[in-house]
Symmetry: C2
Subunit: 372 residues, 2 copies
DNA sequence: CTGAAAGCGCTTACAG
DNA sequence: CTGAAAGCGCTTACAG
């Protein structure tokens, strides 16, 4: 006999249900898990009794029995490191990813574990997830190799550039997004569009640069790619923008690839009295509250981070269940055209964002005009 | 015999260790868990053998046996809801909280589960955490009652105003923070300081307002509390600031209680050509990248969110282990004095942030001057 | 100081 | 169509 039971709070077990129904635990288990061996009538009766008794299967017992943990680990870049070094390329993006992943996983009976910055297999064993959703893999990301070798499947948000052909990622259509944005800015009159690109091997950076160069070549326009460090996002994009603006042939359009780059660019323009959009069109490759709330609001690509997270979780769960994986999942993005790329009167520029995603504002707030 | 084993990958179990050491599993368990019944020599030998064999205890088996899950749920306001409605009072704050919690929990062998927006006990049962860290409880927050009734202990970040005397929270010293900030602004010359306060029952709002009024009364200064809705953070703080600035007696200082309020205030000032800090001192009650990177950078209270999260997790784990809880945990905050409240030459205003928490910039970036 | 055994709640191969 | 039994890996009360 075991004096200490974990039936704390008088948990109703499968055994209790079996006794109440006058059947065996096997039958209860089958009835509850829709194994097709029972008469529909028996099944219904057992399910009713289980409900009446307030039976809830123990998730940990199930997980234990099945040799899994029911857990998906979410790895965000730079989260969980020393708190004082929390520096992400876009808080908005990752927060939405986290929310979307938590939601999608919960629907399927999984929990999302927030992974602190860990590196060793040892530490990963302590976390012990069934699978991992990894944001922004580096090129040939070693974490993916390590985890897969441990038997822990990984699905990434954004692809690993050094894994061509891998179906295990969700992503936006980075090349098309940049093309759409360039087309829009070109149409709005820009002829020298610079790209503030991140010094990183992330796929969205490489894809964006590649698409940008191709687009410029097609139109015979000069490619102006300015690599910006990841170390000091705002400061370096500020500096890069200053260099552009103070150069011999300043651009008439700037695409800042990341949220914080747009902040640096905005600052540089403001300092010089360069008006947006009158003197320069500004757009950003990743939507954010900053872009939405800036004055004027900045045209941005909404990558639908929550949708990407949902798609990544779905792919991962398919891998876990051994199903055919129909990846990669290319999630449609949405270009929000805002004041920063629209010259002349355009009272309600943000109407493209009638999807509820934009900030709820009334028109009076949607179009803050420049100071008198 | 069970054809399907969960010893996938040939897991080394406690049984294997026992066999290799020539002892019983009981002895192995005791040796590994430092139960004081073994000879030190035996213990060391078993631990060595376990290491050599690459034994790792199964966390889910342990959890199962002990009737727990090894999981702490983190509840952030408004995360996990419909992705399109992700609107938090401060992304920076909660992202740091999440990172800090994940880290602190991991150290103690717990995992942090990101909780989607759920409401019913039914849903909580599916998550099944051992305990919950709840951010920003409302007054008499019903989630706390529900969870505690379910036997799931809760520790909050910020206190529940309607639970006086509860030791189960971590928080900054909200009243003292506001006083410090007011003292600083007063010293910098402000005599009519307005407070943009949130329309909410959160403790930090109530404490801040109360401290503000007391401080004003002590100095015979007029209290200017402007309640701002939580619904449309930026837009409403913009409007509130406009009303203040356009009124008969405009303030000479503004404290925006939340990150996004500072964004609205900044916009309102910019539109009117009101210069910060020359015409108006501006400060914000919660530090953020926006505050750090604004032009000029905005004086802000750094609430040390990761430290608060760590403190909350520690309190929760003490509750779980039945230890005496020495809560509440009042975590020291830090006032970062920046350009928005410093008139005249102050080349390196942000030196108070020499703790590595501020953005790594060199001096040239630290003090962006207004445009020529 | 150490071991044999029970049992946490569940699922599954197998026998009827 | 249903049941008896084994067993996932671990911890613990109890007996020696």
């Amino acid at each position: 006999m075991n004096g200490v039971s974990n039936a704390i709070g008088g948990r109703v077990t499968i055994r209790d249900v079996a006794a109440a129904a006058g059947v065996s635990v096997t039958t209860v288990s089958d009835a509850l898990n829709d194994k097709g061996k029972l008469r529909a009538e028996t099944r219904a009766r057992i399910q009713r009794i289980a409900r009446e008794l307030g039976y809830r299967p123990s998730r940990v017992a199930q997980a234990f029995r099945q040799g899994r943990t029911g857990t998906i680990a979410l790895v965000l870049p730079n989260v969980g490191g020393p708190a004082d070094e929390l520096e992400m390329i876009s808080l908005d993006f990752y927060m939405s990813v986290a929310a979307g992943a938590a939601r999608a996983a919960f629907r399927e009976g999984y929990a999302v574990t927030l992974t602190p910055r860990i590196s060793t297999a040892e530490e990963w064993h302590l976390i012990g997830p069934d699978g991992v959703v990894l944001c922004d893999p580096l090129s040939a990301d070693s974490r993916i190799d390590m985890l897969e070798e441990m038997g822990i499947p990984v699905v990434s948000i954004e692809r690993d550039p050094a894994r061509p052909g891998s179906p295990y990622y969700a992503s936006g259509d980075n090349a098309q997004n940049i093309r759409d944005l360039l087309d829009h800015m070109h149409q709005a009159g820009a002829r020298r569009i610079a790209l503030l690109s991140a010094e990183a091997t992330w796929a969205w950076v490489l894809d964006g640069e590649h698409a940008y160069r191709a687009w410029c070549a097609e139109r015979g326009l000069p490619p102006l790619v300015v690599p910006v460090s990841l170390d000091r996002l705002e400061a370096d994009s500020y500096r890069a923008t200053c260099a552009l603006l103070d150069g011999d042939e300043p651009p008439d359009g700037i695409i800042a690839s990341a949220e914080q780059y747009s902040e640096g660019s905005t600052r540089a323009c403001r300092e010089r009295g360069i008006r947006i959009p009158d003197d320069l069109l500004l757009a950003v490759g990743m939507d954010s509250r900053f872009a939405q709330q800036c004055d004027p609001p900045i045209t941005a690509i909404d990558l639908r981070p929550a949708d990407q997270a949902t798609a990544a979780v779905d792919l991962l769960l398919k891998r876990l269940s051994g199903e055919q994986v129909d990846g990669p999942a290319i999630v449609p993005s949405k270009l929000h055209i805002r004041g920063s790329t629209q010259r002349g009167p355009a009272p309600f520029s943000d109407t493209a964002t009638d999807d509820g995603h934009s900030r709820r504002r009334d028109p009076a707030d949607a179009w803050p005009m420049t100071p008198p």
